[in-house]
Structures are given as structure tokens and as C-alpha cells.
Amino acid sequence: MMTEKFPSRLLENAVNEFAKLPGIGRKTALRLVLHLLKQDVADVEIFGHSIIQARTEIKHCKICHNISDGDICNICSQPDRLPEIICVVENIRDVMAIENTRQFTGLYHVLGGIISPMDGVGPADLEINSLIERVRSGNVAEVILALSTTMEGDTTNFFLYKKLKDFNVRISTLARGVSVGDELEYADELTLGRSIKNRLDFESSLSQ
């Protein structure tokens, strides 16, 4: 597969670089490079420049470690958000997902991953100490653990819980239950079982 002959060494270099990206094989890489060769030089310069700029100038928010253009991200700097509530998430995609719901008005804390020895990620590789510092500073009333419901997510939840439980904060986690619009017969047994156990008072369910 790797023995294909390119007529130009420059072309081959470009293809090799594209093929390093996740989800891109050599065939796709070649297609992308040939596409770029057909574009105006100015457009390609903008393309290349935006990538270099993104890599060199994007910062991580000093408070929540979300990706940001400045020292403080545009969520942490909004005056109408409640700094007493912190939602702990794995990465920026989770921040975007929760932001899209428009249901959360607190601040975030991006861990940058979850604990998984198999992937070589330990607690020291994550933004855990900075979370403890935020809680220690005393202005936090509640920490919401919003990590994935996998084994690794649960373990990370556990780890955070143990680190935070001695502080005077409420520690909560996302509810797990039947999805909105789901028919019960198609809900998976584990989720349905959990929803039965953690059922809600009807009145409180009305407000949601």
C-alpha cells in the first residue's frame, strides 16, 4: 500500500502530512491535496494560515481550561453566569453539547480526559488539582459531575468525589433515564431499570 509512486516529492510530503490526521487514509489524503492544488493560491494561504494561527494562538481558559482566545474564556467572563455551580466535563465537545441545551447557567471545568490506565491517562494528567483549588477557594456551592457513563467515567467520578467530599459543597451527577420521545418497549433494560428505581414525583417532573 505504501509503495505507490508519486510524480512529485512535494505532493508526497503533503499527502503524508494529511494522512497523519485521525480518520484520514492515504487515498483521502491524496484527494484532499489534489483538491487544494486546484484552488487559488490565496485561498490555500488562508487555509494554511488559519491552522497555524489556531495552533499557536488558541489558549486554554485560566479558570475552566476550556479552549479560548483570551486568558479567560467567553463563558467564564459572562457576568450573568453563576460561578457557584461548576459542571465537570471531559472535553470541550461536552461543553458545547451542554451549552446547546441552554439549560445550564453555571460555569464549567474541563478535565481534558478521564482516568484510564489502558490509555495511559492517570489523575495527574487531568485538570483535577485546579478543580480542587477552585472548590477550596470557597465560592462554590455545587459540583455537577457530567462525565460519560462508562466504567472509566464512573471511576473518575469516584476519584473526584473522594477528593471533594470533605469540602462543604453539594456533589451531584447527571440523571440517567429514559430519553425524551422514547417508547418504553424500545428502551434498554438497564436504563429502564434505573429509571424505575430513581423515579420522580410527578409534580416535579412537570416543571422540566
Partner: protein, 372 residues
Amino acid sequence: MHLESLSLLNFKNLEEVDLQFSPDLNCFIGNNGAGKTNLMDAIYYLSFCKSFLNPVDGLNVRHEEEFFVIQGKYQRLGQDESIYCGLKRGQKKHFKRNKKEYQKLAEHIGLLPLIIITPSDIDLIMGGSEERRRFLDGLISQYDQIYLDHLLRYNRALLQRNKLLKQFASERSYNEDSLDVWDEQLVHYGNLIHLKRVEYIDRLQPVFQQYYELISCGNERIGMEHQSQLYETDFALLLRENRHKDRVVQYTTVGIHKDDILFNLGDYPIKKLGSQGQKKTYLVALKLAQFDFIKAMSGMTPILLLDDIFDKLDKSRVEQIVKLVADDHFGQIFITDTNREHLDQIIRQVAADSKIFRVSQGTVREQNHEEK
């Protein structure tokens, strides 16, 4: 529930087969290597999405062919079910129920309950403890999704903990907190799994005993002893006590993944002291107990596959088994054998409908009862 018809294309040594079955008793007769067990395997495939002989799907395609197809029509709870399984070499296996493809094969397992008794069951007695745990876990998880989920999570946590122990060793580091969280997960799921295993072994034991007595004419007592480190010590404590040792050997030395079941005959382990015939009887009784279990839990009578069951058994035990399966407690049965002697004996006793199929060199045809 029963299998009405089966059609095969290029499955193992069977090139093209189309059979209509009796809802009661079906016999496959043929010489060694004719393809009797392959027919059983095809039926097993339709229930469990895999072969009981061969875990590699590609090896089940007939030599020098490109694909195999297994199709079965079932009557289940008064409804027709048509199950399709197709595999092309080098491609993903396709599994369909009533022409609709499954997203996950796990969704299919349990739909068509089936018990098979085969000579390879002997691994359960002679093999390592893993075989016996798999038997027990399979029994429980077939109808307890939550148990299965707990088991998967336990195994995942175990994998991560072992990886962490190896990391500590290779990086010459140690972090108590990191290990603690995995221990807590292991303890949480491990204890739940332990309780279920204890419960199920207690429930299985009397049924098993009853079948063994029936087949052996009541001469021998049997026992099934669940061995687990969790009986003596609290799991959390156990992990703590062995932490140093775990760090040295770089894996988790204690837990429910070390459980075993001790099979006894009288007061002695059957593995070491049982005869071949006793072991065989033991396994038949164990599988029939499993049959009753699944029948009770699923509310359906499983299909029973008896592959070469009379081998190694004496005359009286064969008669007892024949008497047992002739009872209408069992639903549809498939039997293989190399000669008609045992089969004729069964057919004579079973009032119900029966069919005989002659298998030779990869072809199968139905035979009249009079024909020899």
C-alpha cells in the same frame, strides 16, 4: 418453540441442504466425518450467532467456497420467525430476523433458547476454572441483563487495575489514590456478582442432583461447591491485604475472577477420580438441569441438541436417558448417532412424531422408518 425447516448453503462440509423437521424428535445418522455434528452446529448458530466448535467464523465456510448461508424457520409463541445468517469471507457476518438485520448480535441471543450436550462439554470438568465460570456466567446472564452488565464492568475495571499495576512497576511510581478508585469499583460489582452466583448455584444444585439420580438409578451422590475467596473475607479487605503482593506480581490476585466450582462425586472431586462414564453422566445431568432452568426463566421449551450422547455410557444409563428424553417434558430434540440401535430404541418409546435423516459425505436425506 421449534425449528420447522433448515436450509444450508456451503456450511462446513454441507453444500446444499433443505430439511423439514418434526416438532418432536429428529435423528441424524451417519458415519464419522459425514456431517452430523455440522448440522447440529448450524442449528446452534441460529440461536447463538456462532459455532460451538469453532470461534473463527471464516473457518465454517465450505472449502474453496466464498460464503455460507444458514436459514431457519421457527414457530415461536404461535408466530413464524425466519432467521437468516450469512457470511462472506473477509466480511462482516449478517444476521437477520424476519428480514430485518440486527444492530447488535447480543439482541438475538436468548430469543431461541437452546441447550446442546456434546462430547466437548468434558472441558467443563477437565478444563481450567475459567470454563466453569463461563458456564455459570452464561447461565445467569442469559436472562439477567443486569448481571451481564455488572460482569462486563467488573472485567473492565480489572483490566484497568492490572494495567495500572504494570504502569507503577515500569515507571517505578506508586499512587495510592489511583488504585483505591479501581478497588472500589471492583468491590462494588464483585459483591453483586458474588451474591448472584451463590443464589444461582443454590437453585441449580437440587435440579442437578435429581437428574443425576435419575440417570444413574440413584446410586451416587453429587455435589457442586462454589469456591470463592469472598466467603471467608470481605472483598475490600481482601484487596487491601493483597495490595503489596499485587504490586509485586503486577496483576490482581484476588477477586471473583478467581472463583471456581468444585464438582464432587460422593466426597471426592470427579475431575480426579470419576470414570469416563460417570463424568459423562455428570455433564448430561448438569446440562439437563440447565435446560429446566432456562425453560422456567424464558417460559419457552428450549430446543435440545444431543450430539453423540450415548458414547461411553453403559446400557442402563442409556436406557434411563432414553426414558428421560422420551418424556414430553422436553420439546423438540435433535440427536446424532453412528448407528440406528439407540435411536430405534428411542423412537419406539416416543409416541410422538419422529423423523430420521441419513447423512453421508455432506448430503442429507430423509429416511422412512422401515428403511434400514
